[in-house]
Subunit: 113 residues, 2 copies
Amino acid sequence: MAKHDPALSLLFHALADPTRRSILIRLAETPARVTDLAGPTGLRLPTVMRHLSVLEAAGLITTSKDGRIRTCAIVPEALDPVRTWLDEQRAIWEARLDRLDAFVMNVMKEREE
Amino acid sequence: MAKHDPALSLLFHALADPTRRSILIRLAETPARVTDLAGPTGLRLPTVMRHLSVLEAAGLITTSKDGRIRTCAIVPEALDPVRTWLDEQRAIWEARLDRLDAFVMNVMKEREE
DNA sequence: GCGATAGTTAGCGACATGGCTAAGCATGAT
DNA sequence: ATCATGCTTAGCCATGTCGCTAACTATCGC
């Protein structure tokens, strides 16, 4: 029960950007060089690099350099904490709903307008 | 297959902040007034209001005003898109791993340092 | 009506983010 | 040795984020 889990924040923040999500999806297909990732996005190299370092800081990808080529690959288990948090929340939220909060919700909905 | 799904971005961004996550967890317990939410965080009212509007814009909470009191409550199904996206990704990522990308990963790991 | 209570709005400051260009550095091909 | 390629670094600009204070509005209790 981390009060303010930094890893979770990094993960969510990394996933909040559409460009980064598309990079992840591209990498899910196959590992790729930085230039390969820049192509589809239409972004410049330094910009892509930044996104990559955000993804790497969040632990979502690993990169390694062979010669002058940096290869990026996905870290599949990196999503686990997100999934765990989501599961926890859903459990709590739904348990809560099973009680009569549904009633409260309804009252609020009616008053809403 | 939304190219750049704005709803998803809003959701992830809303979840990226520890304060907002703690507000959600607090609201999972029971609906609450704005002031009630401000207390535990130690933040000022306008600051909390901002967080609430981010959460509401993402569809994670609903709020309604009765007299001078605004009550906030969770929207449990709001997490569904996140969960769906996560499931999709995990499916793809793992399918990919079952092929011999594991080999590539290993090579990269060895070269990493 | 008067004062306390609950939110709201406006606006500020510090800093982060997401894009860029320009210039640098290392490696591979010739 | 030279040149092209691939990445990296430094730095700029516009915008967004997160906290605050101050001042305003709108109820509620008396």
